[in-house]
Protein backbone atom coordinates (compact mmCIF):
# COMPACT_ATOMS: atom_id res chain seq x y z
CA UNK A 1 0.00 0.00 0.00
CA UNK A 2 1.47 3.34 -0.93
CA UNK A 3 1.24 6.25 1.45
CA UNK A 4 -0.91 9.03 0.16
CA UNK A 5 -0.72 12.34 1.92
CA UNK A 6 -4.41 12.84 2.35
CA UNK A 7 -5.85 16.08 3.61
CA UNK A 8 -6.98 14.26 6.70
CA UNK A 9 -3.48 13.05 7.49
CA UNK A 10 -2.04 16.50 6.93
CA UNK A 11 -4.63 18.15 9.10
CA UNK A 12 -3.97 15.60 11.83
CA UNK A 13 -0.26 16.31 11.75
CA UNK A 14 -0.69 20.07 11.85
CA UNK A 15 -3.12 19.72 14.74
CA UNK A 16 -0.63 17.65 16.68
CA UNK A 17 2.15 20.16 16.10
CA UNK A 18 -0.08 23.01 17.20
CA UNK A 19 -1.13 21.15 20.32
CA UNK A 20 2.47 20.35 21.21
CA UNK A 21 3.41 24.01 20.83
CA UNK A 22 0.55 24.99 23.11
CA UNK A 23 1.62 22.48 25.74
CA UNK A 24 5.16 23.79 25.70
CA UNK A 25 4.05 27.40 25.82
CA UNK A 26 2.03 26.85 28.98
CA UNK A 27 4.63 24.70 30.72
CA UNK A 28 7.49 26.99 29.82
CA UNK A 29 5.59 30.07 30.94
CA UNK A 30 4.84 28.54 34.32
CA UNK A 31 8.35 27.18 34.72
CA UNK A 32 9.68 30.72 34.30
CA UNK A 33 7.23 32.00 36.87
CA UNK A 34 8.35 29.25 39.22
CA UNK A 35 12.06 29.84 39.09
CA UNK A 36 12.35 33.49 38.17
CA UNK A 37 12.10 34.79 41.76
CA UNK A 38 14.73 32.32 42.92
CA UNK A 39 17.04 33.20 40.08
CA UNK A 40 16.73 36.89 40.61
CA UNK A 41 17.63 36.60 44.27
CA UNK A 42 20.63 34.38 43.65
CA UNK A 43 21.84 36.57 40.79
CA UNK A 44 21.56 39.79 42.72
CA UNK A 45 23.30 38.32 45.73
CA UNK A 46 26.46 38.48 43.64
CA UNK A 47 26.13 42.19 42.94
CA UNK A 48 27.00 45.32 44.79
CA UNK A 49 24.36 47.72 46.01
CA UNK A 50 24.39 49.81 42.88
CA UNK A 51 24.04 46.77 40.68
CA UNK A 52 21.14 45.49 42.70
CA UNK A 53 19.14 48.67 42.38
CA UNK A 54 20.03 49.99 38.96
CA UNK A 55 19.82 46.80 36.98
CA UNK A 56 18.10 44.12 39.06
CA UNK A 57 17.39 41.93 36.03
CA UNK A 58 20.89 41.85 34.58
CA UNK A 59 23.60 39.29 35.13
CA UNK A 60 26.42 40.47 37.41
CA UNK A 61 29.04 42.29 35.36
CA UNK A 62 32.59 43.14 36.32
CA UNK A 63 31.53 46.58 37.58
CA UNK A 64 28.60 45.26 39.54
CA UNK A 65 30.00 41.95 40.72
CA UNK A 66 30.56 41.75 44.45
CA UNK A 67 30.45 39.23 47.24
CA UNK A 68 30.26 41.81 49.99
CA UNK A 69 26.87 40.43 50.98
CA UNK A 70 28.32 37.02 51.60
CA UNK A 71 31.17 38.56 53.52
CA UNK A 72 28.72 40.33 55.83
CA UNK A 73 26.68 37.18 56.30
CA UNK A 74 29.67 35.06 57.11
CA UNK A 75 31.21 37.53 59.53
CA UNK A 76 28.10 38.99 61.18
CA UNK A 77 25.78 36.02 61.20
CA UNK A 78 26.68 32.79 62.87
CA UNK A 79 25.64 30.84 59.84
CA UNK A 80 28.08 28.00 60.11
CA UNK A 81 26.66 27.19 63.51
CA UNK A 82 23.09 27.55 62.24
CA UNK A 83 23.89 25.22 59.39
CA UNK A 84 25.32 22.60 61.65
CA UNK A 85 22.28 22.94 63.94
CA UNK A 86 19.89 22.49 61.01
CA UNK A 87 21.95 19.61 59.74
CA UNK A 88 22.03 17.83 63.08
CA UNK A 89 18.33 18.29 63.66
CA UNK A 90 17.38 17.23 60.17
CA UNK A 91 19.68 14.25 59.89
CA UNK A 92 18.96 12.83 63.33
CA UNK A 93 15.21 13.34 62.98
CA UNK A 94 15.25 11.71 59.55
CA UNK A 95 17.22 8.78 60.85
CA UNK A 96 14.77 8.23 63.68
CA UNK A 97 11.73 8.71 61.44
CA UNK A 98 13.00 6.19 58.93
CA UNK A 99 14.20 3.63 61.45
CA UNK A 100 11.25 3.74 63.81
CA UNK A 101 8.76 4.29 61.00
CA UNK A 102 10.05 1.31 59.07
CA UNK A 103 9.99 -0.85 62.21
CA UNK A 104 6.40 0.08 62.95
CA UNK A 105 5.36 -0.33 59.33
CA UNK A 106 6.97 -3.75 59.28
CA UNK A 107 5.05 -4.79 62.38
CA UNK A 108 1.77 -3.51 60.94
CA UNK A 109 2.23 -5.07 57.53
CA UNK A 110 3.79 -8.38 58.51
CA UNK A 111 2.18 -9.66 61.68
CA UNK A 112 -1.37 -10.55 62.55
CA UNK A 113 -2.16 -9.39 66.06
CA UNK A 114 -5.18 -8.08 67.85
CA UNK A 115 -4.48 -4.36 67.94
CA UNK A 116 -3.13 -4.17 64.41
CA UNK A 117 -5.96 -2.29 62.70
CA UNK A 118 -6.55 -0.02 65.67
CA UNK A 119 -2.89 0.95 65.97
CA UNK A 120 -2.77 1.63 62.26
CA UNK A 121 -5.61 4.12 62.53
CA UNK A 122 -4.14 5.67 65.68
CA UNK A 123 -0.82 6.32 64.00
CA UNK A 124 -2.35 7.66 60.84
CA UNK A 125 -4.45 10.19 62.77
CA UNK A 126 -1.31 12.28 62.99
CA UNK A 127 -1.44 12.92 59.26
CA UNK A 128 -4.77 14.66 59.67
CA UNK A 129 -4.02 16.57 62.85
CA UNK A 130 -1.09 18.99 62.73
CA UNK A 131 1.25 18.60 65.66
CA UNK A 132 1.43 22.37 66.03
CA UNK A 133 -1.95 22.45 67.66
CA UNK A 134 -0.33 20.90 70.70
CA UNK A 135 2.36 23.57 70.87
CA UNK A 136 1.20 24.91 74.21
CA UNK A 137 1.58 21.53 75.85
CA UNK A 138 4.72 20.66 73.94
CA UNK A 139 6.41 23.74 75.32
CA UNK A 140 5.33 22.87 78.85
CA UNK A 141 6.51 19.32 78.36
CA UNK A 142 9.88 20.53 77.15
CA UNK A 143 10.14 22.89 80.10
CA UNK A 144 9.40 20.00 82.45
CA UNK A 145 11.99 17.85 80.74
CA UNK A 146 14.49 20.77 80.75
CA UNK A 147 14.83 20.43 77.01
CA UNK A 148 14.01 24.00 76.04
CA UNK A 149 16.71 25.51 73.86
CA UNK A 150 18.19 22.16 73.00
CA UNK A 151 18.33 20.52 69.62
CA UNK A 152 16.91 17.38 71.23
CA UNK A 153 13.56 19.09 71.73
CA UNK A 154 13.37 19.83 68.00
CA UNK A 155 14.44 16.32 67.11
CA UNK A 156 11.76 14.75 69.27
CA UNK A 157 9.02 16.95 67.90
CA UNK A 158 10.03 16.49 64.29
CA UNK A 159 10.29 12.76 64.77
CA UNK A 160 6.79 12.66 66.21
CA UNK A 161 5.60 14.89 63.37
CA UNK A 162 7.21 12.82 60.60
CA UNK A 163 6.33 9.34 61.84
CA UNK A 164 2.65 9.11 60.80
CA UNK A 165 3.19 9.79 57.13
CA UNK A 166 6.31 7.63 57.08
CA UNK A 167 4.48 4.73 58.70
CA UNK A 168 1.60 5.19 56.30
CA UNK A 169 3.67 5.19 53.11
CA UNK A 170 5.99 2.42 54.28
CA UNK A 171 3.12 0.19 55.42
CA UNK A 172 1.41 0.54 52.07
CA UNK A 173 4.61 -0.37 50.33
CA UNK A 174 5.61 -3.21 52.62
CA UNK A 175 2.22 -4.84 52.09
CA UNK A 176 3.23 -5.30 48.47
CA UNK A 177 6.46 -7.10 49.34
CA UNK A 178 6.44 -10.79 48.65
CA UNK A 179 5.73 -12.82 51.74
CA UNK A 180 7.82 -15.63 50.31
CA UNK A 181 11.10 -13.87 50.79
CA UNK A 182 10.52 -13.26 54.48
CA UNK A 183 9.35 -16.83 54.94
CA UNK A 184 12.42 -18.02 53.14
CA UNK A 185 14.57 -16.08 55.59
CA UNK A 186 12.65 -17.69 58.43
CA UNK A 187 13.36 -21.13 57.01
CA UNK A 188 16.98 -20.01 56.74
CA UNK A 189 16.93 -19.40 60.47
CA UNK A 190 16.94 -15.60 60.76
CA UNK A 191 15.37 -14.03 63.82
CA UNK A 192 12.49 -11.61 63.26
CA UNK A 193 14.87 -8.71 63.96
CA UNK A 194 17.41 -9.85 61.44
CA UNK A 195 14.68 -10.43 58.89
CA UNK A 196 13.73 -6.79 59.32
CA UNK A 197 17.27 -5.45 59.07
CA UNK A 198 18.71 -7.81 56.50
CA UNK A 199 15.79 -8.62 54.23
CA UNK A 200 13.06 -6.01 54.58
CA UNK A 201 15.14 -2.85 54.91
CA UNK A 202 17.20 -3.48 51.76
CA UNK A 203 13.99 -4.15 49.87
CA UNK A 204 12.35 -0.87 50.91
CA UNK A 205 15.42 1.27 50.40
CA UNK A 206 14.05 3.16 47.39
CA UNK A 207 10.91 4.09 49.29
CA UNK A 208 12.95 5.10 52.32
CA UNK A 209 14.73 7.62 50.13
CA UNK A 210 11.42 9.09 49.01
CA UNK A 211 10.10 9.30 52.54
CA UNK A 212 13.39 10.92 53.54
CA UNK A 213 13.05 13.68 50.97
CA UNK A 214 9.42 14.26 51.86
CA UNK A 215 10.06 14.40 55.56
CA UNK A 216 13.15 16.53 55.16
CA UNK A 217 11.50 19.53 53.54
CA UNK A 218 9.20 20.53 56.42
CA UNK A 219 11.93 19.90 58.99
CA UNK A 220 14.64 21.90 57.28
CA UNK A 221 12.26 24.74 56.49
CA UNK A 222 10.32 24.93 59.72
CA UNK A 223 10.13 28.24 61.50
CA UNK A 224 7.51 27.57 64.16
CA UNK A 225 9.24 25.14 66.48
CA UNK A 226 12.73 26.67 66.34
CA UNK A 227 11.08 29.98 67.20
CA UNK A 228 9.23 28.50 70.15
CA UNK A 229 11.44 25.70 71.43
CA UNK A 230 15.00 26.59 70.52
CA UNK A 231 15.46 30.25 69.66
CA UNK A 232 18.69 30.68 71.64
CA UNK A 233 21.67 31.69 69.60
CA UNK A 234 23.39 28.36 70.15
CA UNK A 235 20.45 26.31 68.86
CA UNK A 236 19.14 28.46 66.01
CA UNK A 237 18.47 26.71 62.74
CA UNK A 238 19.26 28.24 59.37
CA UNK A 239 15.66 29.12 58.70
CA UNK A 240 15.29 30.96 61.96
CA UNK A 241 18.75 32.45 61.60
CA UNK A 242 17.97 33.85 58.17
CA UNK A 243 14.66 35.17 59.37
CA UNK A 244 16.24 37.05 62.23
CA UNK A 245 19.28 38.14 60.25
CA UNK A 246 17.04 39.72 57.67
CA UNK A 247 15.12 41.41 60.44
CA UNK A 248 18.32 43.12 61.55
CA UNK A 249 19.81 43.93 58.19
CA UNK A 250 16.75 45.08 56.27
CA UNK A 251 18.66 47.92 54.70
CA UNK A 252 21.74 45.93 53.71
CA UNK A 253 20.33 44.38 50.55
CA UNK A 254 23.40 42.49 49.50
CA UNK A 255 23.55 40.84 52.88
CA UNK A 256 19.86 39.98 52.80
CA UNK A 257 20.08 38.49 49.33
CA UNK A 258 23.23 36.59 50.23
CA UNK A 259 21.67 35.10 53.33
CA UNK A 260 18.64 34.04 51.31
CA UNK A 261 20.87 32.41 48.71
CA UNK A 262 22.81 30.65 51.42
CA UNK A 263 19.60 29.15 52.72
CA UNK A 264 18.34 28.19 49.27
CA UNK A 265 21.41 26.57 47.79
CA UNK A 266 21.79 23.42 49.91
CA UNK A 267 18.16 22.53 49.37
CA UNK A 268 18.54 22.96 45.64
CA UNK A 269 21.67 20.84 45.58
CA UNK A 270 19.98 18.08 47.54
CA UNK A 271 16.97 18.29 45.29
CA UNK A 272 19.13 18.03 42.20
CA UNK A 273 20.63 14.86 43.63
CA UNK A 274 17.40 13.27 44.75
CA UNK A 275 14.86 14.61 42.29
CA UNK A 276 14.64 11.48 40.17
CA UNK A 277 14.23 9.40 43.28
CA UNK A 278 11.57 11.74 44.56
CA UNK A 279 9.49 11.63 41.40
CA UNK A 280 9.66 7.90 40.97
CA UNK A 281 8.83 7.46 44.63
CA UNK A 282 5.75 9.64 44.40
CA UNK A 283 4.55 7.93 41.29
CA UNK A 284 5.26 4.52 42.78
CA UNK A 285 3.30 4.58 45.95
CA UNK A 286 2.67 7.78 47.76
CA UNK A 287 -0.73 8.42 46.25
CA UNK A 288 -2.17 4.98 46.65
CA UNK A 289 -3.94 5.91 49.85
Amino acid sequence: MSTVDTTRARRGRMGRLGAAAGVHAVLLAYTIIAIFPVLIVVLNSFKNRRGIFTEPLALPRTETFSVEGYATVLTEGNFLLYYSNSLIVTVVSLFLILLFGAMAAHALSEYRFKLNALLGVYLILGIMVPIRLGTVAILQLMVDLSLVNTLISLILVYTAQGLPIAVFILTEFMRTLSRDIKDCARVDGLSEYRIFFEVVLPLVRPVLATVAVFSMIPIWNDLWFPLILASSDATKTVTLGVQQFIGQYTVNWSAVLASLSIAILPVLVLYAIFSRQLISGITAGAVKG
Binding site: T31, A34, T159, Y193, T283
Partner: protein, 322 residues
Amino acid sequence: MTEIVEQAIGRSRTARRRRKTGGITHIAVFLAPTVLIYSIFSIYPLIESLRLSLFDGQPDGSAVWIGLGNYATLLFDANWAVRFWNALWNNLILFFIHMIVQNPLGLLLAALLSLAPRFGGTYRTLIFVPTLLSVVIVGFVWELILSPLWGVAEGMMSAVGLGWLYAPWLGLEDSALTAVSLISVWQYVGIPMMLIYAALLSIPDELLDAARVDGLSGFAIFWKIKLPLILPTLGIVAILTYIGNFTSAFDLIYSIQGVLGPPDYSTDIMGTLMFRTFFGQQTQIGDIHMGATVASMMFFIILIGVTIYLLGVQRRLTRYEM
Protein backbone atom coordinates in the same frame (compact mmCIF):
# COMPACT_ATOMS: atom_id res chain seq x y z
CA MET B 1 0.21 -43.65 63.39
CA THR B 2 -0.99 -42.50 66.80
CA GLU B 3 1.89 -44.42 68.37
CA ILE B 4 4.46 -42.65 66.27
CA VAL B 5 3.00 -39.33 67.23
CA GLU B 6 2.92 -40.18 70.92
CA GLN B 7 6.50 -41.31 70.87
CA ALA B 8 7.44 -38.18 69.03
CA ILE B 9 5.67 -36.01 71.56
CA GLY B 10 7.56 -37.73 74.34
CA ARG B 11 10.81 -37.22 72.57
CA SER B 12 10.22 -33.59 71.76
CA ARG B 13 9.88 -32.90 75.48
CA THR B 14 13.27 -34.34 76.15
CA ALA B 15 14.89 -33.10 72.98
CA ARG B 16 17.39 -30.29 73.30
CA ARG B 17 15.82 -26.89 73.49
CA ARG B 18 15.01 -25.50 70.15
CA ARG B 19 13.93 -22.07 69.15
CA LYS B 20 10.19 -21.60 69.24
CA THR B 21 7.87 -20.13 66.70
CA GLY B 22 5.31 -17.48 67.61
CA GLY B 23 5.65 -14.99 70.44
CA ILE B 24 4.89 -11.32 70.28
CA THR B 25 7.89 -9.66 71.89
CA HIS B 26 9.35 -8.68 68.56
CA ILE B 27 6.08 -7.06 67.51
CA ALA B 28 6.16 -4.93 70.64
CA VAL B 29 9.79 -4.03 70.07
CA PHE B 30 9.09 -2.95 66.51
CA LEU B 31 6.16 -0.79 67.53
CA ALA B 32 7.33 0.65 70.83
CA PRO B 33 9.57 3.54 69.68
CA THR B 34 7.02 4.91 67.23
CA VAL B 35 4.08 4.53 69.54
CA LEU B 36 5.94 6.12 72.44
CA ILE B 37 7.38 9.13 70.63
CA TYR B 38 4.17 9.74 68.75
CA SER B 39 2.00 9.42 71.83
CA ILE B 40 4.17 11.61 74.03
CA PHE B 41 5.00 14.39 71.62
CA SER B 42 2.00 14.44 69.34
CA ILE B 43 -1.12 12.94 70.88
CA TYR B 44 -0.55 13.83 74.52
CA PRO B 45 0.13 17.53 73.78
CA LEU B 46 -3.01 17.67 71.72
CA ILE B 47 -5.09 16.23 74.54
CA GLU B 48 -3.30 18.42 77.05
CA SER B 49 -4.13 21.48 74.96
CA LEU B 50 -7.76 20.48 74.98
CA ARG B 51 -7.55 20.14 78.76
CA LEU B 52 -5.76 23.46 79.25
CA SER B 53 -8.45 25.21 77.28
CA LEU B 54 -10.91 24.32 80.03
CA PHE B 55 -8.98 26.20 82.72
CA ASP B 56 -8.29 29.81 83.50
CA GLY B 57 -4.98 31.08 84.76
CA GLN B 58 -4.87 32.95 88.07
CA PRO B 59 -2.43 35.73 88.94
CA ASP B 60 -0.73 33.40 91.44
CA GLY B 61 0.04 30.93 88.64
CA SER B 62 -2.58 28.34 89.54
CA ALA B 63 -5.40 27.39 87.23
CA VAL B 64 -9.10 26.97 87.89
CA TRP B 65 -11.58 24.92 85.96
CA ILE B 66 -13.97 27.11 84.04
CA GLY B 67 -15.50 24.58 81.66
CA LEU B 68 -16.19 26.13 78.32
CA GLY B 69 -15.62 29.63 79.63
CA ASN B 70 -12.62 30.30 77.42
CA TYR B 71 -14.58 29.25 74.37
CA ALA B 72 -17.38 31.61 75.36
CA THR B 73 -14.82 34.40 75.68
CA LEU B 74 -13.30 33.61 72.33
CA LEU B 75 -16.63 33.49 70.55
CA PHE B 76 -18.61 36.18 72.33
CA ASP B 77 -16.35 38.63 74.12
CA ALA B 78 -16.29 41.66 71.88
CA ASN B 79 -12.50 42.03 71.84
CA TRP B 80 -11.81 38.37 71.19
CA ALA B 81 -14.69 37.55 68.89
CA VAL B 82 -13.82 40.22 66.37
CA ARG B 83 -10.28 38.83 66.08
CA PHE B 84 -11.44 35.22 66.01
CA TRP B 85 -14.06 35.63 63.31
CA ASN B 86 -11.77 37.84 61.29
CA ALA B 87 -8.99 35.24 61.44
CA LEU B 88 -11.33 32.38 60.59
CA TRP B 89 -12.81 34.34 57.71
CA ASN B 90 -9.34 35.13 56.37
CA ASN B 91 -8.46 31.44 56.63
CA LEU B 92 -11.50 30.55 54.60
CA ILE B 93 -10.61 33.11 51.96
CA LEU B 94 -7.12 31.69 51.87
CA PHE B 95 -8.58 28.22 51.39
CA PHE B 96 -10.95 29.46 48.71
CA ILE B 97 -8.17 31.13 46.72
CA HIS B 98 -6.10 27.97 46.89
CA MET B 99 -9.02 25.91 45.71
CA ILE B 100 -9.77 28.09 42.72
CA VAL B 101 -6.21 28.95 41.75
CA GLN B 102 -3.71 26.45 43.10
CA ASN B 103 -5.55 23.21 42.49
CA PRO B 104 -6.86 23.93 38.99
CA LEU B 105 -3.41 25.19 38.09
CA GLY B 106 -1.89 22.02 39.51
CA LEU B 107 -4.38 19.96 37.53
CA LEU B 108 -3.60 21.84 34.34
CA LEU B 109 0.15 21.46 34.74
CA ALA B 110 -0.19 17.78 35.66
CA ALA B 111 -2.45 17.13 32.70
CA LEU B 112 0.03 18.76 30.36
CA LEU B 113 2.93 16.89 31.89
CA SER B 114 1.09 13.59 31.62
CA LEU B 115 1.08 14.03 27.84
CA ALA B 116 4.80 13.29 28.14
CA PRO B 117 6.05 16.33 26.23
CA ARG B 118 9.75 16.69 25.52
CA PHE B 119 11.64 18.08 28.53
CA GLY B 120 8.68 17.09 30.68
CA GLY B 121 11.03 15.97 33.42
CA THR B 122 12.81 19.32 33.41
CA TYR B 123 9.59 21.30 33.63
CA ARG B 124 8.39 19.11 36.45
CA THR B 125 11.62 19.42 38.38
CA LEU B 126 11.77 23.19 38.05
CA ILE B 127 8.14 23.82 38.86
CA PHE B 128 8.62 21.87 42.08
CA VAL B 129 11.55 24.02 43.22
CA PRO B 130 9.54 26.66 45.15
CA THR B 131 7.87 23.92 47.17
CA LEU B 132 11.23 22.94 48.57
CA LEU B 133 12.07 26.36 49.88
CA SER B 134 11.42 27.59 53.34
CA VAL B 135 8.42 29.86 53.50
CA VAL B 136 10.67 32.32 55.25
CA ILE B 137 12.77 32.54 52.14
CA VAL B 138 9.79 32.56 49.85
CA GLY B 139 8.24 35.32 51.88
CA PHE B 140 11.26 37.56 51.69
CA VAL B 141 11.94 36.83 48.05
CA TRP B 142 8.48 38.01 47.13
CA GLU B 143 8.57 40.88 49.52
CA LEU B 144 11.68 42.10 47.79
CA ILE B 145 10.32 41.52 44.32
CA LEU B 146 7.01 43.23 45.03
CA SER B 147 8.61 46.01 47.02
CA PRO B 148 8.26 49.46 45.51
CA LEU B 149 11.76 50.14 46.82
CA TRP B 150 13.48 47.66 44.56
CA GLY B 151 10.95 47.99 41.80
CA VAL B 152 11.54 44.68 40.07
CA ALA B 153 7.84 43.93 39.72
CA GLU B 154 6.99 47.47 38.73
CA GLY B 155 9.80 47.59 36.21
CA MET B 156 8.80 44.35 34.59
CA MET B 157 5.16 45.30 34.37
CA SER B 158 6.04 48.65 32.84
CA ALA B 159 8.13 46.82 30.29
CA VAL B 160 5.01 45.09 28.99
CA GLY B 161 2.87 48.20 29.32
CA LEU B 162 1.11 47.19 32.51
CA GLY B 163 2.94 49.58 34.81
CA TRP B 164 -0.27 51.39 35.74
CA LEU B 165 -1.60 48.16 37.27
CA TYR B 166 1.18 47.96 39.81
CA ALA B 167 0.52 48.68 43.44
CA PRO B 168 2.37 47.72 46.61
CA TRP B 169 -0.10 44.90 47.06
CA LEU B 170 1.35 43.49 50.26
CA GLY B 171 0.85 46.77 52.02
CA LEU B 172 -2.72 47.46 50.99
CA GLU B 173 -5.58 46.27 53.10
CA ASP B 174 -7.69 45.23 50.11
CA SER B 175 -5.05 43.19 48.37
CA ALA B 176 -2.68 41.96 51.07
CA LEU B 177 -4.48 38.68 51.76
CA THR B 178 -4.89 37.89 48.08
CA ALA B 179 -1.24 38.69 47.46
CA VAL B 180 -0.13 36.44 50.30
CA SER B 181 -2.44 33.68 49.06
CA LEU B 182 -1.03 33.89 45.57
CA ILE B 183 2.51 33.72 46.90
CA SER B 184 1.49 30.61 48.78
CA VAL B 185 -0.06 29.21 45.60
CA TRP B 186 3.17 29.92 43.78
CA GLN B 187 5.07 28.03 46.42
CA TYR B 188 2.84 25.02 46.86
CA VAL B 189 1.33 24.34 43.44
CA GLY B 190 4.01 21.68 43.01
CA ILE B 191 2.31 19.40 45.51
CA PRO B 192 -1.10 19.06 43.82
CA MET B 193 0.73 18.93 40.52
CA MET B 194 2.83 15.98 41.64
CA LEU B 195 -0.02 14.10 43.29
CA ILE B 196 -2.31 14.53 40.31
CA TYR B 197 0.47 13.74 37.89
CA ALA B 198 1.20 10.50 39.71
CA ALA B 199 -2.49 9.60 39.68
CA LEU B 200 -2.69 10.32 35.95
CA LEU B 201 0.32 8.12 35.32
CA SER B 202 -1.25 5.25 37.20
CA ILE B 203 -4.12 5.06 34.71
CA PRO B 204 -3.31 2.04 32.55
CA ASP B 205 -2.35 2.79 28.97
CA GLU B 206 -4.69 0.12 27.66
CA LEU B 207 -7.64 2.04 29.04
CA LEU B 208 -6.63 5.18 27.16
CA ASP B 209 -5.92 3.15 24.04
CA ALA B 210 -9.36 1.63 24.30
CA ALA B 211 -10.90 5.09 24.56
CA ARG B 212 -8.92 6.22 21.54
CA VAL B 213 -10.14 3.25 19.55
CA ASP B 214 -13.66 4.13 20.68
CA GLY B 215 -13.10 7.45 18.92
CA LEU B 216 -12.65 9.84 21.85
CA SER B 217 -10.50 12.87 21.24
CA GLY B 218 -7.68 13.85 23.58
CA PHE B 219 -9.89 16.37 25.31
CA ALA B 220 -12.79 13.97 25.70
CA ILE B 221 -10.45 11.34 27.09
CA PHE B 222 -9.36 13.80 29.71
CA TRP B 223 -12.88 14.76 30.75
CA LYS B 224 -14.58 11.42 30.46
CA ILE B 225 -11.88 8.94 31.44
CA LYS B 226 -8.99 10.53 33.28
CA LEU B 227 -10.83 13.05 35.41
CA PRO B 228 -13.33 10.58 36.90
CA LEU B 229 -10.51 8.19 37.67
CA ILE B 230 -8.43 10.76 39.53
CA LEU B 231 -11.32 12.24 41.52
CA PRO B 232 -10.16 10.53 44.73
CA THR B 233 -6.78 12.21 44.34
CA LEU B 234 -8.48 15.55 43.84
CA GLY B 235 -10.35 14.86 47.06
CA ILE B 236 -7.08 14.22 48.87
CA VAL B 237 -5.62 17.41 47.41
CA ALA B 238 -8.61 19.37 48.66
CA ILE B 239 -8.34 18.06 52.21
CA LEU B 240 -4.57 18.58 52.26
CA THR B 241 -5.14 22.17 51.12
CA TYR B 242 -7.64 22.65 53.91
CA ILE B 243 -5.33 21.31 56.62
CA GLY B 244 -2.34 23.21 55.21
CA ASN B 245 -4.28 26.46 55.57
CA PHE B 246 -4.28 26.14 59.30
CA THR B 247 -0.65 25.20 59.62
CA SER B 248 1.88 26.17 57.01
CA ALA B 249 0.09 29.40 56.15
CA PHE B 250 1.32 30.79 59.46
CA ASP B 251 4.95 30.68 58.47
CA LEU B 252 4.37 32.65 55.33
CA ILE B 253 2.31 35.37 56.92
CA TYR B 254 4.60 35.55 59.92
CA SER B 255 7.64 36.06 57.76
CA ILE B 256 6.09 38.49 55.31
CA GLN B 257 3.71 40.40 57.50
CA GLY B 258 4.67 39.60 61.06
CA VAL B 259 2.51 38.36 63.86
CA LEU B 260 -0.20 41.03 63.73
CA GLY B 261 -1.42 40.22 60.26
CA PRO B 262 -1.11 43.78 58.95
CA PRO B 263 -2.31 45.96 57.49
CA ASP B 264 -5.00 46.23 60.12
CA TYR B 265 -5.42 42.47 60.66
CA SER B 266 -6.30 41.95 57.02
CA THR B 267 -3.89 39.00 56.86
CA ASP B 268 -4.48 37.77 60.39
CA ILE B 269 -5.26 34.05 60.36
CA MET B 270 -5.86 31.38 62.98
CA GLY B 271 -2.17 30.52 63.14
CA THR B 272 -1.04 34.07 63.88
CA LEU B 273 -3.91 34.56 66.29
CA MET B 274 -2.87 31.45 68.18
CA PHE B 275 0.75 32.52 68.26
CA ARG B 276 -0.17 35.99 69.52
CA THR B 277 -2.54 34.71 72.11
CA PHE B 278 -0.08 32.16 73.35
CA PHE B 279 3.04 34.30 73.45
CA GLY B 280 1.58 37.74 73.72
CA GLN B 281 2.65 40.83 71.83
CA GLN B 282 3.21 44.48 72.59
CA THR B 283 -0.19 45.28 74.06
CA GLN B 284 -1.15 41.93 75.46
CA ILE B 285 0.58 39.37 77.61
CA GLY B 286 0.63 35.71 76.65
CA ASP B 287 -2.09 33.45 77.95
CA ILE B 288 -1.56 29.71 77.61
CA HIS B 289 -5.16 28.92 78.38
CA MET B 290 -6.55 31.20 75.71
CA GLY B 291 -3.76 29.98 73.40
CA ALA B 292 -4.85 26.42 74.04
CA THR B 293 -8.41 27.47 73.37
CA VAL B 294 -7.53 28.93 69.99
CA ALA B 295 -5.53 25.79 69.19
CA SER B 296 -8.45 23.62 70.23
CA MET B 297 -10.82 25.65 68.07
CA MET B 298 -8.45 25.04 65.16
CA PHE B 299 -8.50 21.36 66.01
CA PHE B 300 -12.29 21.28 65.92
CA ILE B 301 -12.41 23.26 62.70
CA ILE B 302 -9.95 20.86 61.07
CA LEU B 303 -11.91 17.93 62.46
CA ILE B 304 -15.12 19.28 60.92
CA GLY B 305 -13.40 19.60 57.56
CA VAL B 306 -11.89 16.13 57.74
CA THR B 307 -15.21 14.64 58.81
CA ILE B 308 -17.04 16.29 55.94
CA TYR B 309 -14.39 14.94 53.65
CA LEU B 310 -14.45 11.41 55.02
CA LEU B 311 -18.21 11.08 55.27
CA GLY B 312 -19.35 13.18 52.38
CA VAL B 313 -16.76 13.58 49.74
CA GLN B 314 -14.62 10.49 49.97
CA ARG B 315 -17.56 8.12 50.12
CA ARG B 316 -19.03 9.48 46.98
CA LEU B 317 -15.71 9.43 45.14
CA THR B 318 -15.55 5.84 44.06
CA ARG B 319 -12.09 4.45 43.97
CA TYR B 320 -11.65 2.32 40.90
CA GLU B 321 -9.37 -0.66 40.77
CA MET B 322 -6.74 0.03 38.17
